[in-house]
Symmetry: C2
Subunit: 367 residues, 2 copies
């Protein structure tokens, strides 16, 4: 069922060399920027140091998808795909810095989140006034700087990413879509309780589609292809692959956020419940649980003081209402759709193998 | 003493038509983006509505300086200078949204600041959980979206702003410099009390130079010229004009932040003292006041509960120590340097007239 690929079109079997090149290029870019900021003041480097430290821990999923999207194109246009990966990873770093302020997260990638890092700097030096507010302020600015860096690197791609190209449009849309999706997510936390429960799954799927499926999977894949000068057919085929794959990936995240093993996920048990995330999993429970249980569940979400007994009761509702089963079924459906779309992709074997592997992880990963 | 200008090089006598065109183009751009976000969800428009509302009130100082920088070039390259103005104003709107989170400002341009606007939306609908945190989260995301918009519009300038051009470099530097300057500013609020008082003025001038003089005046002026394809001589001459002019402008702001008439500035009396801004004016007092008064002054800065009697005592120290007089002298010196530089500008009369007028306002404005 696979579409034809030109026999001479070969790509490396894996992305390890690419990931290593992204790591090196990202580090080199940030070393240059440390110089620029330190030239203003020795303290200027605090900002770039925070970015460098956080960005080192990334798995480079978005960069890698951009690489495979690029590799899917038979005769790719000349573009520095490593720099495209760096631009995506810098954007992701910026998003994480601001996300951790929004989610009040203390840690990220097993280190203090950036606002906590600056708060610790404040405490360490015994500085004056409110260290927590200093931490938030510094993290807002660090995230903004990192957004600028992302754009700076993306702009350096030249003609392939110039104004009016498909790649530029994809990049601009990606930013707009993820920021809108994140807003809808925080809005749902506060507005969800008073909105129509029958629509809870539909609302959660919109959020998941924009803040995750498109941003983390579909747009990076399409961006790589667009930078390589792909035809519309291939772009559409990659999009049809990335959307179900990305949604399955996020739904797995949602399940792990409630049922995951803290020893494997690195996050406290039931973390998503304390944050009040109204995911697809929660949406199914709100729609399917008995009314009194649904109301009780809704009232617990977002309470930072949820104890383990309450988390256990919430889990029981998610299981007994069939919400967990429905979510797992949806993951399987989406996985099947992704695998079918991968089969139809007119792309070399390593590209399809990498996407198949990623789709498999959406179903089976535990962290 | 003025440098030669080609006789045929004429420009409009004022910038009113340009400002009207920027207002219209900015509104049109945001109308288009409302559609894009509303297509994701009707709630998506909250973000663009907040940007549109805030951006309507701007004086367009940065756009206007970009216009005059462009007009200084004898045979300008083809570029849509109105769109360049829109990009600058969108960046400024984003900076204000995040700045108001950092400074905990309730109002901006006589309206609620963006985080307060979202907090009010939360209260109005009686939504769940913490409305203040929702306001901050939504404002972080709105500022990020506005940063992306700024870049999107700047990118649309095409070849004149493409990667590797001087204009692109100026724009990238501008963002990096203002974000670093803002960080040094919040750092000085907390670290200043424990740092060498003898260096307080030097530190304050670095902050003022990067977060204000360059960002608000020098970079926009140079950007306009760079977009028009200016030679290095003209760029240098505009830079030599913009730096003293911009610093004088900021020092006047600092004086008004402590001694301004609330009826004219629209800000509460002594607002900068409550925020704990360690400006050049404060720096002179820390260096020149008797040690006990300087220590007392330092300890009051940043206390949100400063009463009017304490503010009056702080003002007296600023006057008696000679700090106000030194700051006014510095404004005059900088004004003189700016006027001399304007005289040497090889630019048409309206350009020099506009810059002379702006320099005059740095000395004499009351709001």
């Amino acid at each position: 069922m696979s579409a034809p690929v030109r026999p001479g079109h070969t790509v490396p079997a894996d992305d390890r060399a690419f990931v290593a090149a992204v790591d090196a290029a990202l580090a080199a870019f940030l070393r240059g920027e440390v110089e620029n900021l330190a030239a203003i003041s020795p303290d200027g480097r605090h900002l770039v140091d925070a970015i460098a430290s956080l960005s080192r821990g990334g798995k480079r999923m978005r960069a890698t998808l951009c690489y495979w999207g690029h590799a899917a194109v038979d005769t790719p246009a000349t573009v520095d795909i490593v720099q495209a990966g760096v631009a995506l990873e810098l954007f992701q770093t910026a998003a994480l810095i601001h996300d951790d302020i929004i989610d009040r997260s203390d840690t990220r990638r097993s280190m203090p989140s950036v606002h906590r890092r600056f708060e610790a700097l404040h405490a360490e030096h015994g500085w004056a006034l409110d260290g927590t507010h200093f931490g938030t302020s510094a993290a807002v600015l660090t995230g903004d700087l990192c957004l600028s860096f992302s754009e700076q690197v993306f702009g350096s791609l030249g003609a392939a990413a110039a104004s009016g190209t498909r790649a530029r449009l994809v990049f601009d849309q990606m930013r707009m879509q993820v920021l809108t999706g994140q807003y809808l997510d925080v809005l749902e936390e506060v507005a969800g309780p008073s909105r129509e429960p029958a629509e809870a799954v539909a609302r959660a799927r919109t959020i998941s589609s924009y803040k995750s499926a498109r941003y983390s999977v579909e747009r990076p894949l399409v961006l790589g292809a667009a930078l390589a000068g792909a035809e519309a057919d291939l772009i559409d085929a990659l999009s049809a692959t990335g959307l179900p794959l990305g949604e399955a990936f996020q739904l797995r995240d949602d399940v792990l956020g409630v049922f995951g093993d803290p020893a494997l996920t690195g996050k406290p048990a039931g973390d998503d419940l304390r944050e009040g995330k109204r995911t697809v999993l929660i949406g199914f429970a709100l729609q399917q649980a008995p009314a009194d249980e649904a109301a009780w569940l809704s009232a617990q979400l977002g309470r930072p003081d949820l104890d383990s007994a309450t988390i256990e009761r919430l889990r029981t509702i998610l299981i007994d209402s069939g919400a967990l089963r429905r979510t797992e079924q949806l993951i399987e459906d989406l996985h099947r759709r992704a695998v079918t779309a991968i089969g139809l992709l007119p792309a070399p074997v390593p590209v399809r193998a990498a996407l198949t592997e990623l789709a498999g992880r959406a179903v089976s990963r535990q962290a």
